[in-house]
Symmetry: D2
Subunit: 116 residues, 4 copies
């Protein structure tokens, strides 16, 4: 009988690290003042924060302009909310690479985080 | 001709301090996971954080249960959002006391902060 | 020739979910006002926020009282800092369970997050 | 007998608004990943968030590079901490203008916020 193959710990660690990055991004920045004047610099700053972290190869943050427009207050800006935040991060540990996504699911009313 | 009365600096400082407390509360806690299981402990913890700060006499934090119910995700909780957060703080500097309120204004789509 | 065993996706997902929880906890709460008056309610509130999240079986948050004392300001409180925050979370996805820890590493000057 | 002059409400409101801005800035961004690679974009993004808010005329955010260097982890970055954050904001309500400052006081171990 075959012994089960040992799990590849580097895969697991890559998944763990990817989870850390998305959880961190969401909870650091939700609530931040955002409008059309600063949406781009905010996206780039958020990406810059993820890139600093260990094992990160790539990151893309996108704030939904349609949602942003809908949510603008009478003062021309709003607070960054979960339903306007989209992010992708690629993490590499050893030779293993995982891509994780943060996206709003309107039906579940929830910011889904998942491995792609 | 009368000289203008000097402004009472303690009034101004009380207003400044009240502003700090509301700005801090909002931006520290928006995004926090909240559901019916932890809404009360979260309110009390938020109040405990405000009470630590200089010049605070009283504080009351209230998370809107109706809004909370509306926003619950398929997983039974949501993130604390500006439209469900209400707070009042009383700050005293010297003998001057000000009461400031944080409340959601649905028409302005904005978390109004004001002196009462 | 043997085909490689497929990786157990549930293990990976458990690791991913564990990472999310620790990243979220750290970035939501670092900066929160904390002193000896509210350290316990803050720990319990932080735990309550993690417990709401999918797949969480257990969570323990501990704020280091020695570090807290060292960091207290002249006003008797401070802001929650990475070096005083310790947390453990147990996440279960299907039949697989992982335990993850957040702890300060003084030598690395870094809040290590790791699977135990 | 002279009646006391009514307090100038616009002065008070300017102070209140200045307090909001500093409290918000501190609590939104403390904990953010920061290193020499992203310190400038983070400063500009933080300023952009303050500028969006009502009554703000000017804002300057400065992260202390000496403190940043001291605090860098073995991974080449750290979390934004209160002792490395300096900010100035000018708020104007009606014709009244106030300048408020956030600065770390090493002796008090406290992020002082004050009107200048």
């Amino acid at each position: 009988m075959l012994h089960p193959k040992p799990r590849d710990e580097r895969v697991d660690k890559a998944q763990f690290e990817a989870g850390i990055k998305l959880g961190a991004l969401f909870h650091q920045f939700v609530g931040t003042p955002v409008g059309f004047e600063n949406v781009e610099i905010l996206e780039r700053a958020m990406e810059s924060c993820v890139k600093l972290q260990p094992y990160v190869e790539e990151v893309k943050v996108k704030i939904d302009r349609v949602k942003l427009r809908e949510k603008l207050s009478a003062f021309g800006y709003t607070s960054l909310s979960p339903d306007m935040l989209h992010a992708e991060v690629v993490v590499k540990v050893g030779k293993r690479r995982v891509r994780a996504v943060l996206r709003w699911d309107e039906r579940l009313k929830y910011p889904i985080m998942e491995i792609r």
